[in-house]
Amino acid sequence: MVRKAKARFCRRTETRHTGCRPRPPMTRRLKVLAIHLALIMSILSIAIPVIYAIIGSTQTTAEAYRYPPKLTPGNALFDNFRKAWNLGLGRMLGNTFLVATGVVIGKVFLSVLAGFAFVYFRFPGKDLIFFLVLVTLMFPLEVRIVSLFDLMQRLQLGNTYYALMLPFMASATGTFLFRQHFRSIPRELVDAARVDGAGPLRFLFQILLPISWNTVGALAAVMFVYAWNQYLWPLLVITTKDKQMIQVGLKMALQAEAGELDWGMAMAATLMSILPPLFVFFLLQEQFMRGFSLGTEK
């Protein structure tokens, strides 16, 4: 919230009738100063690991192993990015983008359909099915990872993008989110559509969806970051470098070569991996807030 610019503070000799604002007492001003200081300190401490990683990404291996460490940026940034790229991380960025986009599209589509069914239809078994969907909200993949891995091998889906995308396609969060959203839309809209002779699918795609882009954006933003940051599942199910995801690439970048870890390259790899989700986050910050406040995220 941006506060409107107010009149200047009163000078010591003035009274407030001249249109100025009364001077806040000294304690209040000290308090505000203390809050600013505390916030700046907090922001800095939160950012230090990433700032140090950025500095690290600009240094050569020799510079990284100097003691005391060099705390100013070096000139090897481009070189480190090139090394990380050549290690296969460029390809992995592409893979991750493809998989995350696929997961987001699939999730949004399936959630819209399911949410629509729950709000605009009456049918036997509705409550049971809703329960079956909702109860999955909090079940992390890890508690069935052994048998899911097994299943992927039997379906001949080991080491494929399908294995990375399919298990994430259904979303309790998304279904819940769209159910809430559709419920908030006035009944008159569907009644009017029916009077005009629009069937359910036409109503969904031509009337409902065009006024729901905010909710779609909210879900897409949260889910993109979630899919982008997957680590354990691709680590297990993908066995060749050319199909691997970027997060596992970080682990590869940290593997020491001849006993010496290439910190500059590893930090360049880390920056490569965090820039796309950070970009999405800053671009869609409002949608993130909405996505969080509407549904209980998982």
């Binding site: 809050i35 600013h36 916030l39 907090s42 922001i43 939160i46 690991p49 990433v50 140090y52 990683a53 690290g56 192993y65 003691y67 460490p69 399936l110 959630s111 359909l113 399911a114 629509f116 069914a117 605009y120 239809f121 009456r122 049918f123 079956l132 969907v133 909200l137 909090m138 079940f139 992390p140 890890e142 508690v143 069935r144 990872i145 052994v146 048998s147 899911l148 891995f149 097994d150 399919l166 298990p167 396609m169 259904a170 699918l201 940051n229 680590y231 354990l232 997060q247 970080l250 970048a253 870890l261 910190w263 590893a266 930090m267 790899a269 880390t270 991996s273 993130f288 807030m289 969080f292």
Partner: protein
């Protein structure tokens, strides 16, 4: 309401197919696997009843893993929530640049646990790291973060807390903005100081959010911190950071003990089930509050 008979089922079919095939079916199968001794990558299965569970509960290694996991989870959840609440209260003050401060506090949410692991690894690494350099030049100590058992656990705990701060601050900020101003003003008129106003008015109103974050952070600490541990310590030194999820991963995919690993999955599943149950009960309460 539309009245088609078949269409609602067709609309739900894709989501249900995915849920049944990739969620419900494997969840049942992992339970069945936990009752078997599995050899040769699933080719041969022998029914052994609850032998896998007996094996787990008679293993000191598992109890050790359980113990450090509980310490780890408690620290991540309690310290994480306390710090986040403090940051959210600070960022909720009416001051210039509040928007900037909020963004600057919550951006780590977008980072992956793996990236959190790599940057903390670099920060604490013995030669190149900033932390040991600062400690060495100020008070002359250079702790062995990755060789000392207690320090290693503290280190992954710190990284795990740091990574989830943004997520928690987002929720606390939203909840703080929903605290009715009239209540706080009424308390002020009654002579309650800022501290009392916070503990007696604001904090109780944050209850549902705190409980929600408590469960989400527990799930996070139990499961989603795997990459941090895999990148920074791989469960070591010794078994010092071998949390339950890391132990499960090693048993299943390093030592190929499918049956025992499945039994561990079922134990974790039961734990999540209890949490889910508690969570749903508060969701209902939240409806009562009309929030």
């Amino acid at each position: 309401m539309y009245k088609n008979k078949l269409l609602p089922y067709l609309l739900l079919l894709p989501a249900l197919t995915v849920l049944i095939l990739f969620l419900y079916y494997p969840q049942v199968e992992v339970f069945i696997l936990s009752l078997h001794r599995v050899a040769l990558l699933g080719v041969r299965k022998v029914f052994v009843g609850f032998a896998n569970y007996q094996k787990i509960f008679s293993s000191p290694k598992y109890y050790h893993s359980l113990e450090i996991t509980l310490i780890f989870v408690a620290a991540v959840v309690l310290i994480g929530l306390a710090v986040s609440l403090g940051l959210a209260v600070l960022a909720n003050q009416k001051i210039r640049g509040a928007r900037f401060y909020r963004t600057a506090l919550i951006w780590p949410y977008a980072l992956s646990p793996a990236a959190a692991g790599t940057v903390w690894f670099f920060l604490f690494t013995p030669v190149a790291g900033l932390v040991n350099y600062v400690l060495d030049s100020t008070i002359g100590i250079r702790p062995d973060w990755f060789g000392d058992k207690v320090l290693a656990l503290a280190l992954v705990t710190g990284a795990a807390i740091w990574k989830n701060l943004g997520y928690n601050v987002i929720f606390y900020l939203a909840a703080l903005q929903n605290v009715p101003k009239e209540l706080l003003e009424a308390a002020q008129v009654d002579g309650a100081g800022a501290f009392r106003r916070f503990w007696k008015v604001t904090f109780p109103l944050l209850g549902p959010t705190t409980f929600f974050l408590l469960t989400m952070n527990m799930i996070y600490a139990f499961f989603e911190t795997f990459p941090i541990i895999d990148i920074m310590t791989r469960g070591g030194p010794g078994e010092a950071t071998n949390t339950l999820i890391y132990n499960l991963y090693r048993d299943a995919f390093r030592f190929f003990k499918t049956g025992v690993a499945s039994a561990q999955s079922v134990i974790l599943f039961l734990f999540v089930l209890i949490l889910t149950f508690l969570q749903f009960r508060t969701v209902e309460r939240r409806v009562h509050y009309g929030a």
